[in-house]
Symmetry: C2
Subunit: 333 residues, 2 copies
Amino acid sequence: MTTVREIRLKSRPSGLPTAANFEMASVDLAAPGAGEVQVKNLWMTVDPYMRGRMNDVKSYTPPFQLGKAMDGGAIGEVTASNDPSLKPGDLVQSGFGWREGFNAPAASLQKLDPKGLAPQTFLGAAGMPGLTAYVGLLKIAALKDGDVVFVSGAAGAVGSIVVQIAKAKGHTVIGSAGGPDKIAFLKEIGVDHAIDYKAEKDLTAALLAAAPDGIDVYFDNVGGDHLVAALNAARPFARFALCGAISVYNATELPAGPPNLMLMVGKQLRMQGFIVSSSWDMMPAFLSDLAGWVKDGKVVWKETVFEGIEKAPDAFIGLFTGENLGKMLVKLS
Amino acid sequence: MTTVREIRLKSRPSGLPTAANFEMASVDLAAPGAGEVQVKNLWMTVDPYMRGRMNDVKSYTPPFQLGKAMDGGAIGEVTASNDPSLKPGDLVQSGFGWREGFNAPAASLQKLDPKGLAPQTFLGAAGMPGLTAYVGLLKIAALKDGDVVFVSGAAGAVGSIVVQIAKAKGHTVIGSAGGPDKIAFLKEIGVDHAIDYKAEKDLTAALLAAAPDGIDVYFDNVGGDHLVAALNAARPFARFALCGAISVYNATELPAGPPNLMLMVGKQLRMQGFIVSSSWDMMPAFLSDLAGWVKDGKVVWKETVFEGIEKAPDAFIGLFTGENLGKMLVKLS
């Protein structure tokens, strides 16, 4: 019998989540049943989209249940197996995050070959966030030669990959983020213009100073004022990939939409929302391209790591207060 | 020497234009010079997009100039010619509206073969508004089999053609318009559900009552609350063609955007603004399709006609107070 700790949803937040919305509990794991394996989690991910799952509303992913362990991406190691497809020591990727370990049918897990990368990379640059960047930029925004690209949340897990893919393809890239550490990171990864939105009173003016002729592509991780500025600075036929809107995830009332939205008509803009799970089919192409970019030193990444399951709520809350540079992760073992 | 009257922009409106923003003047036309013709206008069009041209701002069409005749689409008859390509009696289409007659280079005019249609049809169903409907529905919204279609401003020059093209292609169509006359017209042209927005407190509820499973395509002529309702009622992967926003053209302050815009992410919606002049190349295909629909009785149209150049400002202002059923036109001769 093994005892593991897990994080459960204790209450649904109103606005920014607090520690009181979570509770930690211990559960005992029996030996795995037929067809099952037991896994010790090494890493779990916290991602902004999980905020929506804390509300009791229907969306593209089901809400977390009160009193139950939360879930999300995790990388673990098989510690006991009752199925021939996996053996102790195998690395697996699962949706059983927010817990130190679990039993699950072997068929519900994906065996991970890290191909020389650190295993947790598959929760970040080589995982869902990286694929989100790739899909949003290449498929949704339909990046084409000569496009000037604007990325908000550019120092984050998704945004920093967007920046680097666009740079690897030879584009002029403007990235926005908050605070000097993030701005320094943006410069490290090669943005042409970094906008510290916390230091700017007028984002439209800042964006037009960086891109006097306007932008062709906007990758939106933020919403709010950033979207307003992007509409103002958009060139005719610009394409916006709407990935998320971290500025409003914790809003307790619906925020006003961009007052300049109707610029879309005269400028003939296209705006498209997307969720990465509709484009899993692009994962092989992405991993193949990524391998080349990594080899050539064109794509790098940062991680912000909290240690211990008890820190998972803090790591998650930190996403909304901007504490992460690159991918926010929790190291569990 | 011929004397003709024309309408000039006297002052730029703030909010809804009034008669005081226009002035009528008489001008004398000399005999046409070499390569020129003289034209007597029979019909002129007033269209919502002209409101933007009354402001002194850069947009996709240049602003009208103070003290100068306004311009826009017109159908006229050549009365004198100094160019071999046109002869007296020929019908021509031009951009020289808002005046009873003019001299112009023959090369700047388009000879019109009405093919059995009334000439003014080429300012409406068989002209820019009709093509706008066709482009927006088929190219921008990428209408596909089984789509449920919502059209706002559905009794207008563009909207009524959108409704009928969608019906001709076998779709379920919900149209909104204001007042019983327009609702009766919508039923005549075959909408499945007509929403009188003036009689509804909650447009989202009205739209979901008409389309309980949601909508796949929204053709937006109105903006404002209609766009909010369409976002609420959109099914995953719905496409919105943004054609105009008559609800806000006269706003003196930028209106709040839709507070539910971020539904675009989770529902993976696409929203695209367009102006018809980017798709003139689709005119031959449109006119060919239209001929078939007209022959089969699948597309009809209404006109609201003001008589005399002196009524042109009233006709124009009437667009924003909803006085037109179908195409608003001014008969000049």
